[in-house]
Amino acid sequence: MIRLAGLVSITLITACSATTEVSDVPELAAEDIVSASVFLNSETRALQEDTFANPGYLWVDRGEALFSQPPAAGPACITCHEKGLRGVAATYPAYDENIGQVLNLEGRINQCRVTQQSEPAWTFESDELLSITAYVANQSLGEPISVDVNGPARAVYEVGRDYFQTRRGQFNLSCQQCHTENWGKRLRGDTLSQGHGNGFPAYRLEWESLGSLHRRLRDCDTGVRAEPLPYGDPLYVALELYLAERSKGISIETPGIRR
């Protein structure tokens, strides 16, 4: 019976996944890689760079406070991370040996929250998780993204790449078609960027709030009338790892300002 179940699931996977010839698929040329912020108008870009006016810093500041506040049950983050976490966000998502899984920054923070602080994990898009993630990511401001996809994370990276290249939704479009093959062109009022994650969590004017990368990914999936995945879904984490490897060379801008 187990054999049959295994067979069924393998057959389902082969029957349902689009057969993309990975080798034919164009990739971004290293010299072309640019952050979405280059497509912002000069005012919005100036707002992003102004640490007083950029509304994302409201979350960064709250994150900083949370970082040094001891929760009810355990020690404060700062107790164990005295020197802060500079440079760490630029290496995420990363494989965590203790649990044998690839975690994104939110997942890694929640891991400490549960195992080191004996507190319940923060929920996705909660003000707390957004704030602390923005604070930790902001400590890597200007650091070039550099993730490891050659070790145990390789298989996850490949799953993310498949997700990126697969057409989906009623509009039958892939991330690849918009962000690798048509960046720089106009989609109505937007200029298509290359779809990097380096500004997230980012303040989107449309959201009137800070939001996670997964929220942006859900918006893109919804935009092609595909069923978005739940926040924190392992497939989105895999996609995030692919995006990070694909953005090699550009640096963290959190908190980015986006339209």
Binding site: A15, C16, R168, R188, A226
Partner: protein, 152 residues
């Protein structure tokens, strides 16, 4: 049921492959669907509205038409200001209904298709983006986009 039948049933339900193509090979000749999809002739005025409207066709997301009153027209797809010079109604019909039958790798979405799609949002499963009548309306609108009509 034997195992093969169970498998087949599972695969069908998992992939949504039960939908047969709405545009069958019999309907296509060359690179065109010559016969209209509906009995009611397309209405170019309704077609223009659909072409612009965010809730319906929203073709200006990717295409531009000179003289159309709409802010921020996209340029991911070709300029359609004179598309009627390049294609007749039948060719436009196929390109709007399912461009991927013209060129499988095309980015242009298929507006009259329900088969072989993945991860379709729950609200849209089994639905086409446009109704057959809406496709006809847009065909009528685009077939009129000709150089000679421009000075009207």
């Amino acid at each position: 049921m034997n195992r093969v039948a169970i498998l087949a049933a599972l695969i069908l339900s998992a992939c949504g492959a039960q939908d047969a193509p709405l545009i069958s090979s019999r309907m296509i000749s060359g690179d065109a669907i010559v016969e209209p999809l509906t009995k009611t002739t397309g209405d170019a005025i309704r077609g223009e509205k659909l072409f612009v409207s965010r809730e319906e066709g929203h073709c200006i997301l990717c295409h531009k038409v000179d003289g159309l009153e709409a802010e921020f027209q996209g340029d991911v797809g070709p300029d359609l200001s004179f598309v009627g010079d390049r294609f007749n109604a039948g060719q436009l019909r196929l390109r709007i209904a399912d461009y991927q039958l013209v060129r499988p790798g095309a980015l242009m979405p298929s507006y009259f298709r329900t088969h072989d799609l993945h991860q379709v949002g729950k609200a849209y499963v089994g639905e086409t983006v446009l109704t057959a009548q809406q496709v006809e309306d847009i065909v009528a609108y685009l077939a009129d986009r000709k150089t000679s009509d421009d000075d009207a």
